[in-house]
Symmetry: C2
Subunit: 154 residues, 2 copies
DNA sequence: GGATATTGATCAGTATGCTGACTATCAGTA
DNA sequence: TACTGATAGTCAGCATACTGATCAATATCC
């Protein structure tokens, strides 16, 4: 019988599981309480001020129903503002707050250290190769999930 | 600023997201309704009859609190039996049912095809290399998550 | 212009996954 | 044997993620 270690799906889950645990631990060590999803959303909102939720979802490959809850929590924490759009009354424009900006700045070293730790078992060349192969596999499978990456210009 | 595509954590999530979507789609095409977690648990119970939930959790690297719900649903579907252990009255012994065995047999082609599809963007050598690097990174980070892999003999 | 289709956001429902707590039981030891 | 610590399982609570539905608003087409 095929071993778990020969199933890319199992390996994907395990690696992700470790990645999330490392991220949360590093961020908590730095004195913050932010999940990987919340961080990605916050960073993307800062880089694209005023974007709407669907665009945000496309930029980081989340389902739009997931984004609703993530933004709820970021707003609750005072890191993001959600305003009705004037151009399209269905849409909400997202804006990072000063505290969001401050949090993002202070948390960056922990995030970078987490990325290093999760590749800790690999040397630099192997880490690069792993990322290259993941990018390639992801690009080929992009349309297979309900939340594909959408490279929109804002 | 660092791009998402340079963050192993982001790539890990994306690859896993696609892997799960592909798994569910292939399994649904074959006429079944089984999640990746449920499949892994079922296969492991079949290979280790009578094992308890903590051992199962260790073999597939799940948190024991997650396993409780997964087994609930497998029992509900009639694929697994959960009995009190005679040796240790705290523990539950898990046994696959005939229907569980039948399901596992019929679902295997879909599971294997899913593993191929999620590596669809890579050639054979690249797929092998990706799995090797994932295994290596995972081995180094095994103890960093709350649910490490435990290679127990049953 | 008006019917139709599409889109942005949300919601209900389900299934992982995690933290931390709790109960019952077991194991080791003074 | 009584005490102490560890262990198996469950639970409450929270945060992703998904499916499918609904509502309001916008686009499109005749």
């Amino acid at each position: 019988m095929k071993d778990n270690n020969d199933m890319p799906g199992h390996l994907a889950r395990r690696f992700q599981q470790i990645a999330v645990a490392v991220f949360l631990a590093e961020v908590a060590d730095a004195g913050f309480d932010l999940t990987p999803v919340q961080y990605a959303a916050l960073a993307t909102i800062k880089a694209n001020p005023g974007l709407d939720q669907v665009t945000l979802a496309g930029l980081i490959a989340y389902d739009r129903t997931t984004i609703t809850g993530v933004i709820d929590r970021l707003v609750q924490k005072g890191l993001v503002e959600r305003r009705a759009s004037s151009r399209d009354r269905r849409a909400r424009e997202l804006e990072i707050t000063d505290e969001g900006r401050r949090t993002l700045r202070k948390i960056t070293p922990a995030v970078e250290s987490a990325q290093r730790i999760m590749l800790g078992g690999l040397n630099a060349k192997e880490g690069e190769e792993l990322m290259r192969l993941l990018r390639k596999a992801i690009a080929a499978g992009n349309e297979l999930s309900r939340a594909p990456l959408r490279d929109v210009q804002v």
